[in-house]
Protein backbone atom coordinates (compact mmCIF):
# COMPACT_ATOMS: atom_id res chain seq x y z
CA UNK A 1 0.00 0.00 0.00
CA UNK A 2 2.83 2.31 0.98
CA UNK A 3 4.69 1.41 -2.22
CA UNK A 4 1.60 2.18 -4.32
CA UNK A 5 1.22 5.59 -2.68
CA UNK A 6 4.89 6.35 -3.17
CA UNK A 7 4.76 5.42 -6.86
CA UNK A 8 1.60 7.54 -7.29
CA UNK A 9 3.38 10.51 -5.70
CA UNK A 10 6.37 9.90 -7.97
CA UNK A 11 4.13 9.83 -11.06
CA UNK A 12 2.28 13.00 -10.02
CA UNK A 13 5.57 14.76 -9.26
CA UNK A 14 6.95 13.76 -12.67
CA UNK A 15 3.73 14.97 -14.37
CA UNK A 16 3.91 18.30 -12.53
CA UNK A 17 7.60 18.73 -13.33
CA UNK A 18 6.89 17.92 -16.99
CA UNK A 19 4.04 20.45 -17.11
CA UNK A 20 6.17 23.08 -15.40
CA UNK A 21 9.04 22.47 -17.82
CA UNK A 22 6.66 22.73 -20.77
CA UNK A 23 5.30 26.06 -19.52
CA UNK A 24 8.82 27.47 -19.23
CA UNK A 25 9.86 26.11 -22.62
CA UNK A 26 6.77 27.70 -24.21
CA UNK A 27 7.48 31.02 -22.46
CA UNK A 28 11.07 30.83 -23.69
CA UNK A 29 9.84 30.13 -27.22
CA UNK A 30 7.36 33.03 -27.07
CA UNK A 31 10.18 35.25 -25.79
CA UNK A 32 12.33 34.32 -28.80
CA UNK A 33 9.33 34.97 -31.10
CA UNK A 34 8.89 38.48 -29.63
CA UNK A 35 12.63 39.22 -29.86
CA UNK A 36 12.55 38.11 -33.52
CA UNK A 37 9.60 40.47 -34.11
CA UNK A 38 11.54 43.46 -32.76
CA UNK A 39 14.70 42.40 -34.60
CA UNK A 40 12.99 42.03 -37.98
CA UNK A 41 9.95 44.28 -37.70
CA UNK A 42 11.70 47.60 -37.90
CA UNK A 43 14.49 46.79 -40.33
CA UNK A 44 14.13 47.24 -44.11
CA UNK A 45 12.86 45.98 -46.47
CA UNK A 46 9.37 46.94 -45.32
CA UNK A 47 6.19 45.17 -46.39
CA UNK A 48 4.12 48.37 -46.62
CA UNK A 49 1.48 47.03 -49.03
CA UNK A 50 0.81 44.01 -46.83
CA UNK A 51 0.77 46.22 -43.71
CA UNK A 52 -1.93 48.44 -45.25
CA UNK A 53 -3.92 45.37 -46.31
CA UNK A 54 -3.75 44.01 -42.75
CA UNK A 55 -4.76 47.38 -41.26
CA UNK A 56 -7.77 47.31 -43.59
CA UNK A 57 -8.60 43.71 -42.63
CA UNK A 58 -8.25 44.27 -38.91
CA UNK A 59 -9.68 47.77 -38.72
CA UNK A 60 -12.25 48.38 -41.40
CA UNK A 61 -13.71 44.88 -41.31
CA UNK A 62 -14.29 45.13 -37.54
CA UNK A 63 -16.15 48.45 -37.74
CA UNK A 64 -19.70 47.08 -37.81
CA UNK A 65 -19.19 44.87 -34.76
CA UNK A 66 -17.29 47.58 -32.89
CA UNK A 67 -19.92 50.23 -33.74
CA UNK A 68 -22.80 48.09 -32.51
CA UNK A 69 -21.00 47.07 -29.33
CA UNK A 70 -19.89 50.63 -28.54
CA UNK A 71 -23.33 52.13 -29.17
CA UNK A 72 -25.19 49.53 -27.11
CA UNK A 73 -22.64 49.67 -24.27
CA UNK A 74 -22.97 53.47 -23.98
CA UNK A 75 -26.75 53.31 -24.16
CA UNK A 76 -27.16 50.50 -21.61
CA UNK A 77 -24.48 51.81 -19.24
CA UNK A 78 -26.19 55.22 -19.13
CA UNK A 79 -29.63 53.69 -18.62
CA UNK A 80 -28.40 51.40 -15.81
CA UNK A 81 -26.45 54.19 -14.05
CA UNK A 82 -29.31 56.69 -14.10
CA UNK A 83 -31.37 55.31 -11.14
CA UNK A 84 -28.37 55.24 -8.78
CA UNK A 85 -27.32 58.78 -9.70
CA UNK A 86 -30.86 60.15 -9.55
CA UNK A 87 -31.12 58.96 -5.91
CA UNK A 88 -28.46 61.56 -5.12
CA UNK A 89 -29.86 64.10 -7.61
CA UNK A 90 -26.68 63.73 -9.64
CA UNK A 91 -28.02 62.80 -13.09
CA UNK A 92 -26.13 65.80 -14.50
CA UNK A 93 -22.94 63.81 -13.84
CA UNK A 94 -24.03 61.07 -16.25
CA UNK A 95 -22.14 62.40 -19.32
CA UNK A 96 -18.82 62.70 -17.49
CA UNK A 97 -19.31 59.38 -15.68
CA UNK A 98 -19.95 57.59 -18.96
CA UNK A 99 -17.05 59.39 -20.68
CA UNK A 100 -14.57 58.44 -17.94
CA UNK A 101 -15.80 54.85 -17.72
CA UNK A 102 -15.66 54.41 -21.47
CA UNK A 103 -12.29 56.00 -22.03
CA UNK A 104 -10.47 54.54 -19.04
CA UNK A 105 -11.71 50.96 -19.15
CA UNK A 106 -14.79 50.01 -21.16
CA UNK A 107 -13.60 51.04 -24.63
CA UNK A 108 -10.08 49.54 -24.43
CA UNK A 109 -11.31 46.36 -22.75
CA UNK A 110 -14.30 45.82 -25.04
CA UNK A 111 -12.29 46.55 -28.17
CA UNK A 112 -9.48 44.30 -26.96
CA UNK A 113 -11.82 41.41 -26.20
CA UNK A 114 -13.74 41.75 -29.47
CA UNK A 115 -10.48 41.97 -31.43
CA UNK A 116 -9.05 38.97 -29.55
CA UNK A 117 -12.10 37.00 -30.70
CA UNK A 118 -12.37 38.28 -34.23
CA UNK A 119 -8.84 39.27 -35.22
CA UNK A 120 -6.88 36.81 -33.03
CA UNK A 121 -8.82 33.79 -34.25
CA UNK A 122 -8.62 34.96 -37.85
CA UNK A 123 -4.82 35.43 -37.69
CA UNK A 124 -4.36 32.09 -35.89
CA UNK A 125 -6.50 30.20 -38.41
CA UNK A 126 -5.00 31.93 -41.46
CA UNK A 127 -1.37 31.34 -40.48
CA UNK A 128 -2.21 27.86 -39.20
CA UNK A 129 -3.72 26.83 -42.51
CA UNK A 130 -0.77 28.39 -44.35
CA UNK A 131 1.56 26.26 -42.23
CA UNK A 132 -0.48 23.10 -42.85
CA UNK A 133 -0.68 23.64 -46.62
CA UNK A 134 3.08 24.33 -46.76
CA UNK A 135 2.61 27.92 -47.96
CA UNK A 136 4.99 29.14 -45.24
CA UNK A 137 7.54 26.51 -46.30
CA UNK A 138 7.08 27.69 -49.90
CA UNK A 139 8.05 31.21 -48.84
CA UNK A 140 11.08 29.85 -46.97
CA UNK A 141 12.38 27.84 -49.91
CA UNK A 142 11.99 30.74 -52.33
CA UNK A 143 14.38 32.73 -50.11
CA UNK A 144 11.62 35.04 -48.87
CA UNK A 145 11.19 35.82 -45.20
CA UNK A 146 7.74 34.54 -44.16
CA UNK A 147 8.17 35.95 -40.64
CA UNK A 148 8.59 39.48 -41.98
CA UNK A 149 5.74 39.17 -44.45
CA UNK A 150 3.24 37.35 -42.26
CA UNK A 151 4.07 38.07 -38.62
CA UNK A 152 5.54 41.56 -38.42
CA UNK A 153 2.87 43.07 -40.68
CA UNK A 154 0.01 41.55 -38.67
CA UNK A 155 1.47 42.49 -35.28
CA UNK A 156 2.21 46.07 -36.35
CA UNK A 157 -1.22 46.37 -38.01
CA UNK A 158 -3.05 45.22 -34.89
CA UNK A 159 -0.89 47.50 -32.69
CA UNK A 160 -1.87 50.46 -34.92
CA UNK A 161 -5.54 49.69 -35.53
CA UNK A 162 -6.66 48.52 -32.06
CA UNK A 163 -5.96 51.99 -30.49
CA UNK A 164 -7.88 53.65 -33.34
CA UNK A 165 -10.76 51.21 -32.87
CA UNK A 166 -10.65 51.87 -29.12
CA UNK A 167 -11.27 55.61 -29.57
CA UNK A 168 -13.92 54.79 -32.15
CA UNK A 169 -15.64 52.49 -29.61
CA UNK A 170 -15.49 55.29 -27.03
CA UNK A 171 -17.04 57.68 -29.55
CA UNK A 172 -19.82 55.24 -30.40
CA UNK A 173 -20.40 54.65 -26.68
CA UNK A 174 -20.72 58.41 -26.16
CA UNK A 175 -23.18 58.51 -29.04
CA UNK A 176 -25.24 55.79 -27.34
CA UNK A 177 -25.10 57.64 -24.02
CA UNK A 178 -26.14 60.89 -25.72
CA UNK A 179 -29.09 59.09 -27.31
CA UNK A 180 -30.29 57.96 -23.90
CA UNK A 181 -29.72 61.32 -22.17
CA UNK A 182 -31.29 63.21 -25.06
CA UNK A 183 -34.39 61.03 -25.12
CA UNK A 184 -34.80 61.12 -21.31
CA UNK A 185 -33.93 64.72 -20.50
CA UNK A 186 -33.76 66.50 -23.84
CA UNK A 187 -30.11 67.49 -23.21
CA UNK A 188 -28.59 69.13 -26.27
CA UNK A 189 -25.60 67.74 -28.19
CA UNK A 190 -23.31 70.64 -27.13
CA UNK A 191 -24.36 70.50 -23.51
CA UNK A 192 -23.82 66.74 -23.32
CA UNK A 193 -20.37 66.69 -24.89
CA UNK A 194 -19.17 69.78 -22.99
CA UNK A 195 -20.16 68.10 -19.76
CA UNK A 196 -18.63 64.78 -20.81
CA UNK A 197 -15.30 66.09 -22.03
CA UNK A 198 -14.53 68.54 -19.23
CA UNK A 199 -13.63 65.63 -16.89
CA UNK A 200 -11.35 63.93 -19.38
CA UNK A 201 -7.65 64.49 -18.71
CA UNK A 202 -4.56 64.10 -20.85
CA UNK A 203 -3.56 61.16 -18.65
CA UNK A 204 -6.84 59.38 -19.48
CA UNK A 205 -6.14 59.65 -23.20
CA UNK A 206 -2.47 58.67 -22.84
CA UNK A 207 -3.27 55.70 -20.59
CA UNK A 208 -5.96 54.48 -22.98
CA UNK A 209 -3.67 54.80 -25.97
CA UNK A 210 -0.78 52.95 -24.32
CA UNK A 211 -3.10 50.25 -22.99
CA UNK A 212 -4.76 49.65 -26.35
CA UNK A 213 -1.39 49.52 -28.15
CA UNK A 214 -0.35 46.79 -25.68
CA UNK A 215 -3.67 44.99 -26.26
CA UNK A 216 -3.17 45.21 -30.03
CA UNK A 217 0.39 43.91 -29.77
CA UNK A 218 -0.76 41.05 -27.54
CA UNK A 219 -3.55 40.03 -29.92
CA UNK A 220 -1.19 40.13 -32.90
CA UNK A 221 1.66 38.25 -31.23
CA UNK A 222 -0.56 35.56 -29.69
CA UNK A 223 -2.49 34.98 -32.95
CA UNK A 224 0.68 34.88 -35.02
CA UNK A 225 2.58 32.65 -32.56
CA UNK A 226 -0.24 30.12 -32.40
CA UNK A 227 -0.77 30.08 -36.17
CA UNK A 228 2.89 30.19 -37.20
CA UNK A 229 3.77 27.29 -34.91
CA UNK A 230 0.62 25.23 -35.39
CA UNK A 231 1.10 21.51 -35.78
CA UNK A 232 0.26 19.74 -38.98
CA UNK A 233 -3.33 18.91 -39.87
CA UNK A 234 -6.70 20.62 -39.74
CA UNK A 235 -6.97 19.88 -36.02
CA UNK A 236 -3.89 22.04 -35.53
CA UNK A 237 -5.55 24.96 -37.36
CA UNK A 238 -8.60 24.74 -35.08
CA UNK A 239 -6.37 24.55 -32.01
CA UNK A 240 -4.35 27.57 -33.18
CA UNK A 241 -7.48 29.68 -33.68
CA UNK A 242 -8.96 28.60 -30.36
CA UNK A 243 -5.75 29.15 -28.38
CA UNK A 244 -5.29 32.56 -29.99
CA UNK A 245 -8.68 33.65 -28.59
CA UNK A 246 -8.41 32.04 -25.15
CA UNK A 247 -4.81 33.11 -24.44
CA UNK A 248 -5.40 36.54 -26.01
CA UNK A 249 -8.44 37.25 -23.81
CA UNK A 250 -6.72 35.96 -20.67
CA UNK A 251 -3.69 38.19 -21.29
CA UNK A 252 -5.89 41.22 -22.00
CA UNK A 253 -7.64 40.83 -18.62
CA UNK A 254 -4.26 40.41 -16.94
CA UNK A 255 -2.85 43.51 -18.67
CA UNK A 256 -5.98 45.48 -17.73
CA UNK A 257 -5.48 44.69 -14.02
CA UNK A 258 -1.77 45.59 -14.19
CA UNK A 259 -2.39 48.81 -16.15
CA UNK A 260 -5.10 49.97 -13.72
CA UNK A 261 -2.62 49.58 -10.86
CA UNK A 262 0.15 51.23 -12.85
CA UNK A 263 -1.80 54.33 -13.96
CA UNK A 264 -3.33 54.72 -10.49
CA UNK A 265 0.16 55.76 -9.38
CA UNK A 266 0.04 58.76 -11.78
CA UNK A 267 -3.51 59.61 -10.75
CA UNK A 268 -2.42 59.65 -7.11
CA UNK A 269 -5.09 57.13 -6.14
Amino acid sequence: MKNNNESLVAVKTAEFTGWFTNVFLTLYDVGLFIIRFFREGFLPPYEIKELIRQCYNIGYRSLLLISTTGLITGLVFTKQSRPSLSEFGATSWLPSLVAIALLRTLAPLLTGLIAAGKVGSSIGAELGSMRVTEQIDAMEVSACNPFKFLVTTRVIASSITIPILTFYTALMGMAGAFLNVNLSEGTSYTEFFQSALEQITFLDITASTIKSIIFGFTIGIVGCYQGYNSSKGTEGVGKAANSAVVIGMFLIFLEEVISVQFFAIFRGI
Binding site: E134, Q135, D137, A138, M139, E140, S142, A143, C144
Partner: protein, 258 residues
Protein backbone atom coordinates in the same frame (compact mmCIF):
# COMPACT_ATOMS: atom_id res chain seq x y z
CA UNK B 1 23.76 -3.82 -53.43
CA UNK B 2 24.15 -0.48 -55.22
CA UNK B 3 24.43 -1.00 -58.92
CA UNK B 4 27.34 0.54 -60.84
CA UNK B 5 26.44 3.85 -62.46
CA UNK B 6 27.75 2.96 -65.88
CA UNK B 7 25.54 5.35 -67.78
CA UNK B 8 26.36 8.37 -65.72
CA UNK B 9 29.25 10.51 -66.81
CA UNK B 10 31.31 10.38 -63.63
CA UNK B 11 33.33 13.35 -64.71
CA UNK B 12 30.17 15.49 -64.59
CA UNK B 13 30.04 17.96 -61.75
CA UNK B 14 28.09 16.90 -58.67
CA UNK B 15 25.56 19.60 -57.76
CA UNK B 16 24.20 17.71 -54.76
CA UNK B 17 26.23 15.29 -52.62
CA UNK B 18 24.61 13.41 -49.78
CA UNK B 19 26.96 11.42 -47.56
CA UNK B 20 25.87 9.18 -44.71
CA UNK B 21 22.69 11.15 -44.07
CA UNK B 22 20.49 9.96 -41.19
CA UNK B 23 17.22 11.40 -39.95
CA UNK B 24 14.86 10.13 -37.27
CA UNK B 25 11.58 11.41 -35.89
CA UNK B 26 11.46 10.16 -32.32
CA UNK B 27 12.01 6.43 -32.42
CA UNK B 28 11.25 6.20 -36.16
CA UNK B 29 14.43 6.03 -38.22
CA UNK B 30 13.47 7.46 -41.62
CA UNK B 31 16.83 7.76 -43.33
CA UNK B 32 19.79 5.55 -42.40
CA UNK B 33 23.20 6.67 -43.62
CA UNK B 34 21.95 7.53 -47.10
CA UNK B 35 24.38 8.27 -49.92
CA UNK B 36 23.23 10.00 -53.09
CA UNK B 37 24.70 12.30 -55.74
CA UNK B 38 22.97 14.49 -58.30
CA UNK B 39 25.05 15.33 -61.38
CA UNK B 40 24.75 18.56 -63.34
CA UNK B 41 22.07 18.41 -66.02
CA UNK B 42 20.49 15.09 -65.02
CA UNK B 43 17.00 14.22 -63.84
CA UNK B 44 17.26 11.80 -60.93
CA UNK B 45 14.07 10.04 -59.93
CA UNK B 46 13.73 8.89 -56.33
CA UNK B 47 11.23 6.10 -55.84
CA UNK B 48 10.05 4.52 -52.66
CA UNK B 49 7.05 3.51 -50.61
CA UNK B 50 5.07 6.08 -48.62
CA UNK B 51 6.75 7.09 -45.39
CA UNK B 52 10.23 6.02 -46.47
CA UNK B 53 11.60 9.54 -46.20
CA UNK B 54 11.66 10.71 -49.82
CA UNK B 55 10.12 14.11 -49.03
CA UNK B 56 12.24 14.37 -45.88
CA UNK B 57 15.31 13.96 -48.06
CA UNK B 58 14.54 16.92 -50.32
CA UNK B 59 13.39 19.04 -47.38
CA UNK B 60 16.84 18.49 -45.85
CA UNK B 61 18.43 19.55 -49.14
CA UNK B 62 16.73 22.98 -48.96
CA UNK B 63 17.29 23.35 -45.22
CA UNK B 64 13.64 23.02 -44.19
CA UNK B 65 14.69 20.09 -41.99
CA UNK B 66 18.05 19.48 -40.35
CA UNK B 67 19.84 16.11 -40.59
CA UNK B 68 20.68 14.16 -37.44
CA UNK B 69 24.01 13.15 -38.93
CA UNK B 70 25.80 13.03 -42.25
CA UNK B 71 26.63 15.67 -44.83
CA UNK B 72 24.52 17.42 -47.46
CA UNK B 73 26.37 19.57 -49.96
CA UNK B 74 24.56 21.70 -52.52
CA UNK B 75 26.86 23.37 -55.03
CA UNK B 76 29.72 22.54 -52.69
CA UNK B 77 28.13 24.20 -49.63
CA UNK B 78 27.17 22.31 -46.47
CA UNK B 79 23.45 23.05 -46.06
CA UNK B 80 23.44 22.57 -42.27
CA UNK B 81 26.64 24.48 -41.59
CA UNK B 82 26.12 27.75 -43.46
CA UNK B 83 24.67 30.99 -42.08
CA UNK B 84 20.99 31.90 -42.61
CA UNK B 85 21.93 34.48 -45.25
CA UNK B 86 24.07 31.92 -47.10
CA UNK B 87 21.16 29.47 -46.91
CA UNK B 88 18.84 32.10 -48.46
CA UNK B 89 21.35 32.65 -51.27
CA UNK B 90 21.58 28.90 -51.79
CA UNK B 91 17.79 28.57 -51.90
CA UNK B 92 17.70 31.01 -54.82
CA UNK B 93 19.51 28.33 -56.81
CA UNK B 94 17.20 25.51 -55.74
CA UNK B 95 13.58 25.43 -56.88
CA UNK B 96 11.15 23.35 -54.83
CA UNK B 97 7.85 22.19 -56.29
CA UNK B 98 5.55 21.06 -53.47
CA UNK B 99 3.28 18.02 -53.62
CA UNK B 100 0.18 20.15 -53.10
CA UNK B 101 1.64 23.10 -55.05
CA UNK B 102 1.50 25.32 -51.92
CA UNK B 103 0.21 28.31 -53.88
CA UNK B 104 -0.56 31.38 -51.76
CA UNK B 105 -4.34 31.17 -51.79
CA UNK B 106 -4.96 34.83 -50.95
CA UNK B 107 -3.04 35.95 -54.07
CA UNK B 108 -3.75 35.70 -57.78
CA UNK B 109 -1.52 33.60 -60.05
CA UNK B 110 0.35 36.77 -61.07
CA UNK B 111 0.91 37.79 -57.44
CA UNK B 112 2.07 34.24 -56.61
CA UNK B 113 4.75 34.52 -59.27
CA UNK B 114 5.69 38.11 -58.44
CA UNK B 115 6.06 37.33 -54.72
CA UNK B 116 9.48 35.61 -54.76
CA UNK B 117 10.77 37.70 -57.66
CA UNK B 118 10.18 41.19 -56.24
CA UNK B 119 11.49 40.16 -52.83
CA UNK B 120 14.71 38.76 -54.19
CA UNK B 121 15.37 41.25 -56.99
CA UNK B 122 14.17 44.56 -55.63
CA UNK B 123 15.77 46.64 -58.39
CA UNK B 124 13.51 45.24 -61.12
CA UNK B 125 11.10 47.62 -62.82
CA UNK B 126 7.38 46.85 -63.08
CA UNK B 127 7.84 46.11 -66.78
CA UNK B 128 10.67 43.64 -66.12
CA UNK B 129 8.60 41.86 -63.47
CA UNK B 130 5.62 41.64 -65.84
CA UNK B 131 7.85 40.23 -68.58
CA UNK B 132 9.36 37.62 -66.26
CA UNK B 133 5.90 36.55 -65.06
CA UNK B 134 4.60 36.27 -68.62
CA UNK B 135 7.64 34.29 -69.72
CA UNK B 136 7.40 31.59 -67.05
CA UNK B 137 3.62 31.34 -67.33
CA UNK B 138 4.04 30.91 -71.06
CA UNK B 139 6.69 28.24 -70.43
CA UNK B 140 4.17 26.21 -68.42
CA UNK B 141 1.37 26.99 -70.90
CA UNK B 142 -0.86 28.93 -68.52
CA UNK B 143 -0.68 32.51 -69.70
CA UNK B 144 -4.47 32.78 -69.66
CA UNK B 145 -4.70 32.09 -65.90
CA UNK B 146 -2.63 35.11 -64.89
CA UNK B 147 -5.41 36.91 -63.02
CA UNK B 148 -7.15 33.85 -61.61
CA UNK B 149 -7.08 32.80 -57.96
CA UNK B 150 -5.50 29.40 -57.11
CA UNK B 151 -8.91 28.11 -56.01
CA UNK B 152 -10.14 28.58 -59.59
CA UNK B 153 -7.43 26.31 -61.05
CA UNK B 154 -7.50 22.55 -61.64
CA UNK B 155 -5.00 20.24 -59.89
CA UNK B 156 -2.78 20.08 -62.98
CA UNK B 157 -2.86 23.84 -63.45
CA UNK B 158 -1.92 24.37 -59.81
CA UNK B 159 1.10 22.06 -60.27
CA UNK B 160 2.14 24.02 -63.34
CA UNK B 161 1.80 27.37 -61.58
CA UNK B 162 3.79 25.94 -58.65
CA UNK B 163 6.56 24.96 -61.05
CA UNK B 164 6.38 28.38 -62.75
CA UNK B 165 6.76 30.08 -59.36
CA UNK B 166 10.02 28.24 -58.77
CA UNK B 167 11.28 28.83 -62.33
CA UNK B 168 10.87 32.59 -62.05
CA UNK B 169 14.00 32.69 -59.86
CA UNK B 170 15.97 30.79 -62.53
CA UNK B 171 17.08 27.90 -60.28
CA UNK B 172 19.95 25.62 -61.23
CA UNK B 173 18.44 22.69 -59.36
CA UNK B 174 14.78 21.63 -59.27
CA UNK B 175 13.26 19.43 -56.58
CA UNK B 176 9.86 17.99 -57.47
CA UNK B 177 7.85 16.42 -54.65
CA UNK B 178 5.32 13.97 -56.14
CA UNK B 179 4.66 16.08 -59.28
CA UNK B 180 2.00 13.71 -60.64
CA UNK B 181 0.26 12.74 -57.39
CA UNK B 182 -3.52 13.01 -57.56
CA UNK B 183 -3.63 13.83 -61.29
CA UNK B 184 -5.37 11.99 -64.12
CA UNK B 185 -3.12 9.99 -66.53
CA UNK B 186 -3.28 12.57 -69.34
CA UNK B 187 -2.34 15.44 -67.02
CA UNK B 188 0.44 13.23 -65.61
CA UNK B 189 1.89 12.92 -69.12
CA UNK B 190 1.67 16.72 -69.53
CA UNK B 191 3.52 17.25 -66.25
CA UNK B 192 6.19 14.70 -67.26
CA UNK B 193 6.70 16.56 -70.54
CA UNK B 194 6.89 19.83 -68.64
CA UNK B 195 9.63 18.44 -66.34
CA UNK B 196 11.64 17.42 -69.42
CA UNK B 197 11.02 20.83 -71.05
CA UNK B 198 12.22 22.59 -67.90
CA UNK B 199 15.39 20.47 -67.89
CA UNK B 200 16.05 21.33 -71.52
CA UNK B 201 15.05 24.99 -71.54
CA UNK B 202 16.41 26.09 -68.16
CA UNK B 203 19.35 23.62 -68.03
CA UNK B 204 18.32 22.40 -64.59
CA UNK B 205 19.46 19.36 -62.62
CA UNK B 206 16.48 17.76 -60.87
CA UNK B 207 15.45 15.32 -58.22
CA UNK B 208 11.95 13.99 -58.84
CA UNK B 209 10.22 12.24 -55.94
CA UNK B 210 7.46 9.94 -57.17
CA UNK B 211 5.61 6.63 -56.91
CA UNK B 212 4.69 6.83 -60.57
CA UNK B 213 6.87 4.58 -62.74
CA UNK B 214 5.57 6.14 -65.96
CA UNK B 215 6.85 9.46 -64.66
CA UNK B 216 10.13 7.77 -63.62
CA UNK B 217 10.57 6.23 -67.05
CA UNK B 218 9.72 9.42 -68.96
CA UNK B 219 11.70 11.97 -66.96
CA UNK B 220 14.48 10.03 -65.22
CA UNK B 221 18.00 9.85 -66.61
CA UNK B 222 18.67 7.82 -63.50
CA UNK B 223 16.49 6.14 -60.88
CA UNK B 224 17.21 5.48 -57.20
CA UNK B 225 15.00 3.35 -54.99
CA UNK B 226 14.73 4.15 -51.30
CA UNK B 227 14.13 0.95 -49.35
CA UNK B 228 14.41 0.50 -45.60
CA UNK B 229 15.88 3.97 -45.19
CA UNK B 230 18.65 3.41 -47.75
CA UNK B 231 19.15 3.71 -51.50
CA UNK B 232 19.33 0.00 -52.25
CA UNK B 233 19.36 0.37 -56.05
CA UNK B 234 20.51 3.12 -58.40
CA UNK B 235 20.93 3.19 -62.15
CA UNK B 236 18.97 3.68 -65.34
CA UNK B 237 15.30 2.67 -65.35
CA UNK B 238 16.03 -0.63 -67.08
CA UNK B 239 18.99 -1.42 -64.85
CA UNK B 240 16.88 -0.98 -61.76
CA UNK B 241 13.70 -2.68 -62.92
CA UNK B 242 14.97 -5.57 -65.03
CA UNK B 243 15.55 -7.47 -61.85
CA UNK B 244 14.17 -10.36 -59.90
CA UNK B 245 14.67 -8.49 -56.64
CA UNK B 246 11.56 -9.19 -54.56
CA UNK B 247 11.64 -5.72 -53.01
CA UNK B 248 11.80 -3.88 -56.34
CA UNK B 249 9.52 -6.07 -58.45
CA UNK B 250 6.24 -4.97 -56.74
CA UNK B 251 6.79 -1.35 -57.89
CA UNK B 252 7.06 -2.46 -61.48
CA UNK B 253 4.27 -5.02 -61.28
CA UNK B 254 1.84 -2.58 -59.70
CA UNK B 255 2.47 0.21 -62.18
CA UNK B 256 2.65 -1.79 -65.41
CA UNK B 257 0.69 -4.99 -64.85
CA UNK B 258 -2.33 -3.55 -63.03
Amino acid sequence: MVQPLENINKSAEKVIEIKGLSKSFGSIHVLRKVHLDLYRGENLVVLGRSGTGKSVLIKIIVGLLMPDSGEVLVNGQYVDKISYQELLDLRLKVGFSFQNSALYDSMTVRENLEFPLVRNQRNLSKKEVDLAVEEVLDAVGLLQTMNQMPSELSGGQRKRVGIARTLILRPEIMLYDEPTAGLDPITCLDINSLINEVQERYRTSSIVITHDLTCAKQVGNRVAILLNGKFERQGTFDEVFLTKDEEVKPFYDYNFIQ
